[in-house]
């Protein structure tokens, strides 16, 4: 067990003219996560701290925050692994602040929605008794991108998002590639028009920080580069839209 000092960012845009840090000392076991520490503080020291969390197991993506300057999930970050006696918690960068550690995901989700994150295929209307057949290698093309939990860590780490508010961000662009390359999706041209914009996929600097911080092992930077390659016509032949096969005997 060790004692650590947790510095919590405090700011309420409705009342405060400037932000401040409140400091709390807590005892941490080897298994104590930053979220455990914050919830202990909230329960026993200051119940007014605002933070968002839900599943506590890196599935919901709610507890993303800047922990010692790096975007991480608080539930997935152990106090011990930070190897520091002082832990500073801030709201995610590149997001507007609602209060304290709670960030506003409105613009983030709007950008995600603008990528049409669903299968578009007219033949789906007549799917009764039929199904798409996908080969394992066709699934492999998009599988890792479907692990995204929309936690916003990649968006917080992205240097382009920091300067260009119209840039969709790594999460949205990776999801665009995920649906574009899915053989069940038939809206290739419609999708490409969305990202082939002056603030679209071409503005990525390929810093790679998005892929570094992803808690689910997704590689958004790879998705963005594959999307660019697709726009340049380099891997267009890799996608063949699947046909519906009847499974009725």
């Amino acid at each position: 067990m060790k004692r650590v000092r947790i510095r919590v960012f405090r700011y309420n845009p409705a009342h405060d003219s400037s932000a401040r840090y409140d400091e709390f000392e807590v005892e941490a076991e080897r298994w104590t996560t930053v979220l455990d520490a914050l919830l202990y503080i909230k329960a026993h020291r200051d119940h007014s701290i605002a933070l968002r969390y839900s599943c506590r197991m890196a599935s919901c993506g709610s507890c993303g925050m800047m922990i010692n300057g790096i975007p991480r999930l608080a539930c997935y970050t152990k106090v011990y692994e930070l190897e520091s006696d002082v832990i500073t918690c801030r709201p995610l960068a590149n997001f507007p602040i609602i209060r304290d550690l709670a960030a506003d995901f409105g613009a983030f989700f709007a950008k995600h929605k603008s990528m049409k994150p669903y299968i578009i295929n007219d033949s789906v209307d007549s799917i009764d008794g039929k199904e798409f057949i996908q080969k394992p290698e066709e699934v492999d093309k998009y599988l890792q991108f479907s692990y995204c939990i929309k936690c916003g860590l990649c968006y917080a780490a992205c240097p382009t998002v920091a300067t260009d508010k119209r840039f969709p961000g790594p999460q949205a662009l990776a999801q665009m590639y995920r649906y574009l390359i899915d053989s069940r999706d038939a809206a290739t041209d419609e999708r490409l028009k969305v990202v082939d914009d002056r603030h679209g996929v071409w503005r990525c600097h390929f810093a790679g920080s998005c892929s570094m911080v992803c808690p689910k092992g997704v590689d958004p930077a790879l998705g963005i580069q594959l999307l660019r390659a697709y726009l340049l016509g380099m891997n267009r032949g890799s996608k063949v839209v699947a046909e519906l096969y009847s499974n009725k005997k």
């Binding site: 508010k165 603030h199 071409w202 503005r203």
Partner: protein, 115 residues
Amino acid sequence: MVRESSIMKIHYYTGIAAIVLVAIHIMFRLTVPDGYSASLEYENVIANYKNVSYALVLELILVTVAVHGFNGLRVILLELRQGDAWESAVKWLCVGGAVAVIAYGTRTIILAGMM
């Protein structure tokens, strides 16, 4: 309206072409019989402009570097600020800048060739 992918294809192609052409240009400086310094003497420089093939290489360097450079500047300025008025101004500033540089450089190449 030109698609961004088309603009970026031009950006990549002009970048690669500029590297090749500038390499040719530097090789010509390094491989002349009298050495590098002699190649930069006034008469030799003017003689380069009178050689139509070499003048064409210089013109291509001018065009590729101007197009690539001003598009790079456009990208930087688009990331600096956003807004329809700003973005329109940046676009026309960069198109105008590239055209002006190419026109002035072409004029220089032609005048030097006629000396």
